[in-house]
Symmetry: C2
Subunit: 370 residues, 2 copies
């Protein structure tokens, strides 16, 4: 399974990938890789001093809706860490105003009028992303130009169930009682809401891809609150509908699904038409492999809190993740694995620890190191 | 597997159990049952108007530390719902002041000086429960007298890892970064902390049992944030040490472990020396049965949000849980199952929905109904 190409030397930040397809995209397609690619969820974020400096001049919403700022932030971790993929800086709630639901950040998301009854659900729009969020598409184009082929760009959206949860809860909620109450008390209205979220997200991701995104990721942050049967009933069909449309229209673009707390729902997650499944740190990658089958590309899953520990412990825990992913110390990189954290990087993470992780995974799995 | 005794008629609230061992305790011991017992996590709580009325006169801490009030609250759901077990009204943080850490509730728990370094950990006391929390033991004695054999009383404590999480985080936290940071950065200090929590909890549960508690439950609310390997390293040995001591000293008393988000850690949970495992609603009971083996008593696991829906939907979802637990509609109750929610009952639950659930499980699984 080794790559026939000569092994790439550990790349300095900003080094160009070879003219063949980028490492990250090859891994996402199940093609042979010469080392394990790595990127970090929420890699453009508050743990970076350059992010905090920019945010001191622009609030979160301004940063999300101003292409030049979103582009600058997106590139910060690529420059500093040398990760193998960039991910659009944005927020999963960016499509909401286009659906007719204003949202503010203070600092957590706040929807003043949560969508909790059928009349409000029926009034929701399902906008075309070119009209509702042109600034996101402009940001994607700008980022691709600025990246100039260094690493691929991942576009993303919230998964339908997660977007619906925010719409119903009105923000981050502890018990998610409102969305679950709606599912059980009025499943028809809930299904209409989920259908509208899925339509909005489908356009949003397709347009990101047309603007230049090279992979499409759905974050299903809240699906972990559902029992497996309810996940199958309410979350799965709508996320699958989004991915099925992408598979039809842009089959070559990898589809990444991030499943929080997926250990109990692997059979369902396996039906999503995803090409890559991001696994949270509570789910052993061996269990995920068993549940998702030998073909699935797994992404993850170091506990983000490990990056608060000193470097020797970070290396030990990174080795555990690599071993769980099938990495053999003597045998080169594991295939069908993209290294990542199992959740977003914590704001209190020292940036040098993130850099150490990237360099460690690169070093350990690089064919050149053998 | 059917009970030789005549089937009990659906008991009215307050009806006495027969002179044989109470249904709940027989179920916990894997003995034959004539119907599926049911109780509800957080059954004495804010969803009950009589609880809110009492709490209008006494704050939460006063209610926890005044035996007469704790007794009144404990009995409220027994009187109203006719559940098959009472559970001590208290809070998992009640032992903290005795360890030297004051805690306030406003309304969530708040520790003004979280325990985050080795010096603070070394200074923690591991008190004898008779000195630190005599009011809890008095409440247990009072409740047993007032119950007068109607249903058994469950005593409880937080599991060591969950207690440690509160001590380190200083309250309810979103990311639990502080406790995980401590585990990874200073595992020796973390182990000392967990050891001290386990010693405190061991005395606390043993004394509750000596005062009259007929089952002992450990709530591991926060263990769900750990990767399986870290659960095995940090949470499991300390919870097992508590249960091992109980198994030695009071082997006849059922040991119940509530595992939040346990789908990815079933193999580890199976090693706890628990006789009963409470399963959260995200974990299908069939998966829990596979992972925990044919002998384990399973408790759970209806999604609490189901109780926000109308009764016909509650019945349909209760049937799903019963089926997953091995209930055959024509064949009497499933054995080795105690019905419960998969998490605490939500404060917004209509009490009549809770009553409907109790009566439905009773009716559906009663041998008399066939």
């Amino acid at each position: 399974l080794r790559s026939p190409e000569p092994a790439a030397a550990p790349a300095a930040a900003g080094a160009r990938e070879p003219a063949v397809e980028p490492l990250f995209l090859r891994a996402c397609r199940g093609q042979s890789v010469e080392r394990t690619p790595i990127w970090i969820m929420r890699q453009a974020g508050r743990y970076l001093p350059e992010y905090r400096a920019l945010r001191a001049r622009a609030d979160f919403w301004t940063a999300c809706t101003t292409p030049e700022l979103a582009c600058q932030i997106t590139l910060q971790p690529v420059d500093r860490l040398g990760v193998d993929a960039a991910i659009l800086f944005s927020d999963i709630l960016v499509p909401l105003p286009g659906m007719g639901v204003p949202v503010t950040f203070d600092p957590g998301p706040q929807i003043d009028a949560p969508v909790r009854d059928r009349a409000r659900i029926e009034a929701l729009r399902t906008p075309d992303a070119r009209e509702a969020t042109p600034f996101v598409l402009e940001a994607v184009r700008l980022i691709r130009r600025e990246l100039a082929g260094r690493v691929p760009l991942i576009g993303f959206a919230g998964a339908p169930f997660t977007m619906a949860t925010y719409l119903v809860e009105g923000g981050t909620s502890k018990s998610q009682a409102a969305i679950r109450g709606l599912l059980f008390a009025d499943p028809e209205a809930a299904s209409l809401l989920l259908h509208k979220c899925a339509r909005t997200i489908r356009s949003y991701l397709l347009e990101q891809i047309r603007a230049g995104a090279q992979a499409a990721m759905l974050f299903d942050t809240w699906a972990g609150i559902l029992a497996p049967d309810d996940f199958a009933r309410f979350a799965l069909p709508h996320a699958r509908a989004v991915f099925a449309e992408l598979a039809l229209q842009v089959p070559e673009v990898p589809r990444i699904y991030y499943a929080a707390d997926c250990a109990g729902r692997l059979a369902q997650v396996g039906q999503l038409e995803a090409t890559v499944v991001g696994v949270d740190w509570r789910t052993d990658l061996r269990l995920a492999r068993l549940g998702l089958g030998p073909e699935m590309i797994l992404q993850g899953n170091l506990d983000p809190a490990v990056l608060l520990a000193p470097p020797p412990r970070i290396e030990a825990k990174a080795r555990e993740v690599l071993r769980a992913a099938g990495w053999l110390e003597e045998g080169g990189p594991s295939q069908r694995h993209v290294f990542n954290l199992g959740h977003g990087i914590l704001p209190e993470t020292p940036p040098e620890h993130a850099l150490f992780l990237v360099e460690t995974v690169r070093r350990l799995t690089s064919a050149a190191a053998r």
